[in-house]
Symmetry: C2
Subunit: 422 residues, 2 copies
């Protein structure tokens, strides 16, 4: 019967115990050899006579011995009178010493050796925050009456944005990888009113930046019967609070990453796009915020509102997709927003058009034929409520949470312009 | 302030109420007009004077009126003195009458008009069972110490099986859509010990059958420190019980689908592949089970063990992937299994090889070069525990649960040889 490493602390002193895990560290001293075993729960210390042959780091072992109180051991109990049995061949030397407190390797080394280097407790903890975030995201939305959906990643046309799309050979005809579940999640508002999806999205992103990936996890939400984009922002606020709450509850993973958890304010500060431009000293005709503008707005929100989050609403219609709902009374602006977290765009959201006639006009205004959108427009012709939604990028979220320099550091197996392996 | 349809039942008699939803049904009688409103929670009845103009079915409306007890209304309360306001243009006539108890349309009609026909309460309930199943899957595994992971769907080689893979143009070089997260979930056992993932998998499936799709949702599990495939099967049993439990708790959705929920036995009956062949009267050298064999085994399990589930273990090594662990003492057979649910293969699982040297030998035995698998083999060279796992097809699960004739009937937007829309 296997005892987990962290459960050794509660083992009866003198009782027989079997641990199974990886050799995390060997320390061969003059009078004693220490073996630290690692499993999914943490570390445990094994004491062996000096000169005992111990398998190299990362070898998988079964260790049988006696639970013995020890002030120096993790959890206050160590294993003595131990027998170590290798469950695999002796492991090859890892590309970095995983027992050191920090994994001090360059980004290419981290990514090339991801299957091994993610084993480092501080690195693994970063993904544990991602997994906890997903739990918090779903639990919050389940409680608000949302239904989880699964929309196709293979789509027949590249109509949503056109650019940066991956083409595939689909039984001899062209198909594309979905850049987002946007069209399908809207259609499903007609069915379930409130939907969410966690899934991969694909961008043939030709830029090599610290915040773009060719494949990432999008946390998508869409809901009907909203007044405007502010109702969408209210749900986003609840979701972020639920995600932070789940992360805070994720055991010692926060401590292992050194992350500072944000406080999600009761009301996220909101600034209009035009005011945001003025605030950061950008020309009034700028169509979008540059990364340095986002950083300046993040600093402003922290100084002025004590908030790690700030929403910029009213983005120019010219820069938003055709399904965006305009700002009532002023068609230059839109009922959409970006949410910045610690000075970086984390979420895009807003209210969408909901009348079939508005869609047809918007598509014609782009010089396109509504017939190309027939499948999508079905939902609107058959009655769709005022609705809106948002999408959170999981990797950016975790990246900002742990203040990583590059989103690749928090992605298990990143994909970009240059990288398709491991 | 909006009242949800099912909450009308608890509204104070005589109090003002606002409903928002779709016109589910109009009934214009000689002395009164009934309007049934549908929202995500269910239906509510509105009473209007005869001759009131009511928008057509599926139009989105806001209805304000007075809560009035009525024995005939759903929930025992209806809305009287009501004012109906259209929130969208009048809806186009749906391709089928959604208020009828059964959605009686052909499969092509159902699939072509999916955005509208999924609104039918009985059809929508099928997906609600899928969503509940996902909740049960994750809750069971979270409680067992598993970590949710996200593995890349874009992969650099088609090595896992070679056949039936979709090729994509990846910034000018070839890449492929992952047929399963198999390689990556194994690597992550080295990090987290116990992992799961819910995500799309892609098969360029040239067969047009009632149970194959080009894209489906795979519920993947992998765990370390197993004795053999029977430990994997034990976890599968817990997962299935958790899924059935969550489905049973999903409100009235089960009733709307008419599904008979299975009982998951404490021990799922297991039969060896060789015995299964004999039982169904197939030649002893058959390498696999045909669909009619699966049906016969399903009938046997029900008759003999009272079980909707039966596991067939020991499949011939010749038909299993190279990473499959052989049956100890008899290399013809493997430590793998398929789980049949109501006579159809639902799950494939088993124990995997875990020693780097066994992988190299298995790859060479296929006439391939282990160097082509370098990224994958890293994990094994650096110490991997005995491990195994399984994958459940979500659409097959729901299909068997509601006893649908075709897996497409329970898929929101199916993708196959012929279909890329809606």
């Amino acid at each position: 019967m296997r005892t987990l490493c962290t459960s050794l602390a509660t083992a009866e002193p003198g009782s027989p115990v079997t641990l199974e895990g990886w050799v995390h560290r060997r320390r061969e001293l003059a009078r004693v050899t220490f073996l630290v075993v690692r499993d999914r729960t943490g570390l445990a210390q094994v004491v062996l006579p000096a000169g005992t042959r111990v398998p190299p780091e990362e070898t998988v072992v079964r260790v049988t011995g006696t639970a013995t109180p020890s002030a120096q051991a993790p959890g206050g109990v160590e294993l003595t009178d131990a027998v170590v049995e290798g469950l695999t061949e002796p492991a090859a030397t890892p590309p970095a010493e995983l027992w050191r407190p920090r994994l001090d390797v360059s980004l290419p080394v981290l990514l090339d050796h991801a299957p091994v280097l993610w084993r480092h407790p501080a690195q693994r903890a970063r993904w544990e925050l991602a997994a906890a975030s997903l739990r918090g995201f779903r639990a919050t939305l389940d409680a608000l009456g949302f239904t989880e959906v699964a929309t196709p990643k293979l789509v027949g046309s590249a109509t949503e944005s056109g650019a940066n799309v991956f083409a595939i050979d689909y039984f001899g005809r062209p198909a594309y990888l979905a850049q987002s579940p946007q069209f399908h999640k809207q259609q499903l508002v007609g069915v379930f009113e409130r939907v969410y999806e966690v899934g991969p999205v694909f961008r043939a992103e030709p830029h090599d930046t610290v915040r773009h990936l060719a494949e990432y996890r999008s946390l998508d939400v869409e809901l009907g019967f909203v007044e405007d984009h502010r109702d969408v922002l209210s749900v986003l606020r609840e979701v972020l609070a639920g995600m932070v709450g789940a992360v805070a509850a994720a055991g010692d993973a926060v401590g292992r990453t050194g992350a500072r958890l944000p406080v999600v304010p009761e009301e996220i500060p909101v600034i209009h796009f035009a005011d945001a431009l003025a605030l950061v000293g950008a020309p009034a005709d700028e169509p979008d915020l540059a990364p340095e503008h986002e950083r300046a707005l993040g600093a402003w929100a922290l100084a002025e509102h004590g908030s790690d989050f700030v929403a910029v609403e009213g983005y120019p219609m010219a820069k938003r997709p055709f399904y965006t709902h305009p700002w009532p009374g002023d068609g230059r602006w839109s009922n959409s927003f970006d949410l910045l977290f610690r000075g970086m765009e984390l979420v895009t959201g807003g209210q969408r058009l909901h009348r079939a006639s508005d869609y047809e006009a918007a598509i014609r205004a782009r010089g396109e034929d509504p017939a190309a959108y027939a499948a999508y427009l079905q939902a609107f012709r058959h009655g769709m409520p005022p609705h809106g939604g948002f999408a959170i990028g999981l990797e950016r979220w975790v990246g900002r949470l742990v203040e990583a320099a590059n989103v690749r550091e928090v992605t298990l197996f990143p994909r970009d312009l240059h990288r398709l392996a491991p």
